[in-house]
Amino acid sequence: MKELALIFLPLLGAAVAAAWPSEKTRPWLLPIVGALHTALTFWMFVNPPPLVDGGWLGFDPLARAVLPAVSLLFLLCAAYAIPYLHVRSARSNRVFVAALLGVLGLLSAGHQARHLGLLWIATEAVTLAAVPLLHFNGTPRAFEATWKYLLVGGTGIALSLLGSFCLGYASLHGGGGGDLTFAALTLQGGGLSRPWVLTAWVLLLAGYGTKMGLAPMHTWKPDAYGEAPGIVGALLAGGVTTVAFTAILRIRAVIAAAGDGPIADRTLLAIGLFSMLVAALFLLGTRDFKRMLAYSSVEHMGILSVGAALGSAGAFAAIFHVWSNSLTKGALFLSGGNIRRAAGARTMDEVSGMAVITPHSAAIFVTGMLAVTACPPFGPFFSELGVIRAAFETHHGGAAAMFLGCLLFAFFGLTRLVFAIVDGRPRAASRETGRRFPESMSVILPPLILLGMSLWLGVATPVTLREAWAAAVTQLYPAP
């Protein structure tokens, strides 16, 4: 019952937001629903409800390990949305608020989905619900980005539907009933028809990999993150990609049960390292700091994928990394949004000296950048350390070396761009816009809290969280 509440509470909120008459008070629905959702998620985290066998929806260990991070991120983004939408009061926020709440509800559905078809429906619906968020700015560039997002994302998600059907046919061909719940598919295990399982894996990885933004299916990401408002970027990078990653984890478990785990792991490792490499190379070249965040997200999706490929220790680190990446990326996107607004531009050719104009946001942005490039003692350092340790334990020395090399290049690329923006003498144009959009407590606190949580996650990872992650790993990587 509570599982459904987690989904329908935000959807109800979306309906209320769509009907709410006042432009001024409507954004307050976001933190209210966000707070209720977070409270419910954490309550369920402490007292996980019993799982129904064969159920389509359930707050299973994986959902328990990941959904609270998404919920927390949403709450802080929602708090940030109030001052943001106040600044952008020239545009109607009706669709924006409703779509944002809709995304939260559908994300909760996607994380809890234990049925392949339901998972697909939720992911596709999230993709569609995010569309009005992307073109909120209403510029031609925003529409261009939205079109690419729709076309690339739509094709990707269509492929994953084909993959889901292939997996269903694998079950049918293997003598099963074609039941698409993950539990039933895992149970059938070796009885699944092998050629169909492999076909399904390729299609599903391509499909959900597109949603995750793994290279070479990442092309929509820089455009979408570059043109969308900061909060939307934070939610896409920390929430929507996460649901695609958990989808891949669940599917990998089925493939492993069918006896093709090594093949799945090899492809995950290869595509993860390739994503990191592509992201690192583009990070060295880009001059736009919002697109930079997108490439950084591609890099971190690569890290997740590498982690998932390295057995249970790697998967534990990957789930840890989901948390640290979501929270740190949130801080970066929100403070980056502040800088973008005050600077009135986004490339290092037009922006400099933001440490003078927006000192607090610039400080958070620089610290967040250090955190996301895995400087201790923030969360990403420890989760990436976990991935590297898992790589050595499983004798993937070459992969670990490449992993570290990509991290180094990404570090060069990020620091180059971030310091070019933060240091130096402010431009005259930026001084002008900086006066129009002064920093206030309400836009500084949310990213600061997110950054604080990333630090807390690194320094003192709560034991209950570790236990939840370990439980999720046992669910997905059963000991042989």
Partner: protein, 201 residues
């Protein structure tokens, strides 16, 4: 499958949309032909498919085309003859691929699997090889039709709810695409996706 080639050969948008619509209707009737005994469930799915894929979505596309007031040439970036050849090659490859994959005895003789794969490949050719937003949407629809055709293999085992959800998502998807197409038209004064090149590295 002939419809795929017709879609590739279409030089004008209305005939392309027509091909998609006829394919949608054919797709909707399929479950009735496959099923030996009529169940209300299958009937419902069939009616919904014919209605949505055969009529609602093509009407939306035609309206988008009319309001956008674009000239009706398709403007391919891969020419008609090469794309036809690609489509034909794709169809042959699909038949070959379907031979290579193990099928249940009751599906071995039917053209369901090769047809589905051929449609998916045709959809890709249209997506890549056409520059107008609406013809790309048609490509996407043909791709989806192919996947749906494949889904018919599972019609006994997938519950109605899933089918309904998938159909609903598709319709909303095309609706959203229609809105974006309209906005692109207003923002760029054209529906030529080759003009969408501001964002790049």
């Amino acid at each position: 499958m002939g419809l795929n080639l017709l879609a590739l050969a279409s030089s004008r948008l209305p005939s392309l949309i027509g091909a998609v619509s006829v394919q949608g209707i054919a797709l909707g009737v399929m479950p009735l032909l496959i099923e030996h005994e009529l169940r209300w469930l299958v009937l419902l799915v069939a009616v919904a498919t014919v209605g949505l894929k055969g009529f609602v979505i093509p009407t939306l596309l035609r309206r988008a085309m009319r309001t956008a007031n674009i000239d009706r040439e398709v403007e391919p970036s891969i020419g008609f003859v090469p794309s036809l050849l690609l489509g034909a090659g794709g169809t042959i490859a699909a038949v070959a691929l379907a031979r290579a994959l193990p099928l249940l005895p009751e599906h071995t003789g039917s053209l369901l699997v090769p047809g589905a794969l051929a449609s998916v490949l045709t959809g890709f050719v249209l997506l890549i090889g056409r520059s107008k937003a609406i013809s790309q949407v048609c490509g996407y629809l043909i791709l989806e039709n192919g996947i749906y055709l494949f889904g018919l293999l599972l019609i006994h085992s997938t519950p109605l709810l899933v089918e309904a959800g998938i159909l609903l998502d598709l319709t909303v998807g095309v609706f959203v695409i229609g809105i974006i197409v309209d906005r692109i038209q207003r923002a760029f004064d054209s529906l030529d996706t080759r003009k969408l090149t501001v964002l790049r590295e």
